[in-house]
């Protein structure tokens, strides 16, 4: 990841206050040309090598279903990174939320706990962890990297304690059935991802909250002088990400029928990778939800194409590295052209 993207003349430099222009650019279709090209290339490779098996509706839905959980987390990560922060604890929060929720579903209360209890527990745990992260960073003045590193360790440790490192299998009637269902042929999980992505796009590009996020990420001092409560806003950003981790945990419970302290392993890296190749600046002040969604789809499609061709995990990891570099390079070239 090159640091000079921040200073490269790729679009307008981050301004003290996000103008409508920056906001427009951040969401302009032109920004994502490189990603679309990369994704189309990947799909062509898929069709060329695996033909009907790749271009099959079932397979496309499988890709989307696999992308959904990490996708929801990545949308939240886009907000935090745009706001000038970083969160390394997302995977651990997903694990903790999944374990906490399934503990309720599998122990004493199991027989009479409604599945809504499971869902709201996960959301509450996610939100709680997010609040702790935000408060430590905004009011405790701890660097985001360090504060969330602490949360990464603590949340996963707590998940191991609560679950006793056991996989907790859920049998709450109706719960998995609801999430495994499809509406008009689209799996519920994919719909959730679509709703989260759409709502995230609106929130970032069409609301005061979004504009404040750009401002806080671009120049916190200027944002403060402009009357934005930067610390409060920072807490809100991490809380939003925490809630989305809670949603991801519920989706994961539904998909695997389990809560486990091993869930969400390395999500932080996958989410940050998706956000970065999507075109969100790691230094804050510029972010794109659409780019992030493409980033997630690229990684998920990659692993699907490799599996269809029976190739090894190691080769997949090499390709993943190459894709990140190529996508970012494409992104910069084409973005420069589209804004020139």
């Amino acid at each position: 990841m090159s640091e000079d993207t921040a200073t490269a003349p790729a679009g307008a430099p981050p301004r003290p206050r996000a103008s409508g222009v920056t906001t427009f650019l951040a969401s302009a279709p032109g920004r994502n040309t490189g990603l679309v090209v990369a994704l189309v290339l990947l799909c062509l490779v898929g069709v060329a090598t695996a033909g009907d098996r790749f271009a099959d509706l079932d397979n496309v839905l499988t890709i989307l279903r696999l992308a959904s959980v990490i996708g929801v987390v990545s949308v939240g990560m886009t907000f935090v990174v745009t706001g000038g922060g970083i969160d390394l604890s997302v995977g651990a929060i997903v694990a903790l939320a999944s374990v906490w929720a399934t503990t309720l579903a599998t122990q004493g209360m199991a027989n009479n706990s409604h599945w809504l209890v499971v869902v709201f527990t996960a959301l509450a745990v996610g939100a709680g962890c997010g609040v702790v992260n935000g408060v430590l960073i905004a009011y405790g003045r701890i660097v985001a990297f360090i504060a969330t590193l602490a949360m990464l360790a603590a949340a996963r440790g707590l998940a191991e304690i609560i679950s006793n490192r056991r996989t907790q299998i859920v049998n709450v009637p109706g719960f998995t059935a609801f999430f495994d269902a499809s509406v008009l042929g689209v799996p519920v999980l994919v719909l959730i991802f679509a709703v989260v992505a759409a709502a995230g796009w609106v929130l970032l590009n069409r609301t005061t909250f979004g504009r404040r996020t750009f401002a806080v990420g671009g120049n916190p001092e200027a944002a403060r002088l402009a009357g934005i409560d930067v610390r409060r806003h920072t807490v809100l950003l991490y809380t939003l990400l925490g809630v989305l981790c809670g949603i991801a945990a519920v989706m994961l419970i539904a998909r695997t029928t389990t809560g486990s302290s091993t869930h969400g392993y390395l999500y932080e890296l996958d989410a940050i990778a998706a956000v970065v190749i999507g075109g969100t600046l790691l230094s804050g002040g510029r972010g794109t939800i659409a780019g992030t969604v493409f980033g997630v789809l690229i990684f998920t499609t990659l692993s699907n194409v490799f599996t269809l061709n029976n190739l090894s995990i190691s080769a997949q990891a090499v390709a993943k590295g190459a894709i990140i570099v190529v996508a970012v390079l494409l992104q910069q070239r084409l973005a420069r052209r589209s804004t020139a």
Partner: protein
């Protein structure tokens, strides 16, 4: 890797380890059932006091948690054994310093399941030089001098057992599609399992048509299986290396609504065995990889210190190496293995 001993010893597998399940939907087996392995022999009479240090990797999945629980339970059965358990870790440096602490504390014996056999070899050698017998469990040191005795699961044999079972079930189907869902691909144990599986399939003219690797976790099992099912429109048999990740594999299969194949598990978790017993799912068999190896390590350590030998052998000393068998559990014999199985 030191050369494998060709002699196979069937170690009596001690059972009756009542693992307290979190899931709360299982009745714990009654402890100490007669007629199962580990019959009462003169060896069980209390002897001189033995202090044993035990170190293992972090119990981050069901099988490893079961190893540690069974070890503690086994030590508790003996009034003359005092067990010092250190926190399980996947950090090789930390594990080395744990063993060094055991040496400094002058324990009588060390039972060691190394996170990485090669990395822990020097410190095990140091313990042996200090006159402390080391019992090496599950992952082998790369020097024959580093352990007094070694208890091993048979990873290659697991693959062979699974492959042989698949061959039997698919008799005569020369065009059968066989898929494999491996564990962590970088581990030698995974490579051994896959090699055994491929070798056994070759015997009956089959091969692994589709292979994916997961990471022993539920989530990774679900991901790998979801992609695998897309890659192979028709499958006749799947061998999944590990029943912990198998929970995720089963979820993916349910989501995809596929039923045309049968599943063979690995390691031998209680929930998979219950499914085999009920005969209402896709799991028709699982290959046991005993989670009681640490417990056997405790017994061997105690015997080594007290100068006794294995009850059913003529020898004066305990053996150098005990390689445990990897039996296939099916509906016909599941009742024998279920009591010793671990909960995911």
């Amino acid at each position: 890797m030191s050369r494998k001993a060709f002699t196979r010893l069937l170690a009596a597998v001690s059972v009756g380890v009542a693992l307290t399940a979190c899931t709360g939907n299982t009745a714990a087996p009654p402890a100490g059932q007669a007629g199962q392995g580990g019959a009462k022999v003169a060896n069980d009479e209390p002897g001189e006091k033995v202090v044993i240090g035990f170190s293992a990797p972090a119990a981050d999945h069901g099988w490893m948690a079961a190893i540690t629980n069974a070890t503690k339970a086994e030590a508790a059965k003996y009034s003359d054994v005092e067990l010092k358990v250190v926190e399980g870790t996947n950090d090789v440096n930390l594990q080395i310093s744990q063993v060094e602490t055991f040496i400094n504390d002058k324990v009588d014996a060390i039972v060691l399941l190394p996170f990485d056999g090669a990395a822990l070899t020097p410190v095990a050698l140091k313990a042996m030089k200090a006159g402390i017998p080391v019992i090496n469990v599950d992952r082998q040191f790369d020097s024959p001098f580093a352990a007094r005795s070694t208890v091993l699961g048979d990873n290659y044999g697991m693959g062979v057992s699974a492959g042989t079972y698949v061959c039997d079930k698919l008799k005569g189907k020369s065009d059968a599609v066989v898929a494999e869902i491996a564990g962590i691909d970088s581990l030698p144990l995974t490579q051994d399992r896959s090699k055994g599986f491929a070798d056994a399939l070759r015997e009956c003219g089959l091969k692994v048509n589709n292979r994916v690797a997961a990471e022993f976790t539920v989530e990774s099992g679900e991901k790998a299986a979801a992609n695998l099912l897309q890659a192979a429109p028709r499958i006749d048999a799947i061998w999944n290396h590990d029943d912990d990740q198998g929970v995720g594999v089963s979820a993916a299969i349910k989501n995809a609504g596929r039923k045309e194949f049968f599943l063979v598990g690995g390691a031998g978790s209680a929930n998979v065995m219950r499914e085999i017993k009920a005969d209402n799912g896709l799991h028709k068999a699982t290959v046991v990889y005993p989670s009681t190896q640490g417990a056997d390590g405790i017994r061997l350590a105690r015997l080594a210190v007290q100068g006794k030998s294995l009850g059913d052998l003529v020898e004066v000393e305990i053996p150098r190496q005990v390689e445990l068998y990897a039996p296939v559990v099916t509906k016909d014999n599941v009742d024998r293995y279920l009591p010793a199985a671990f909960e995911s």
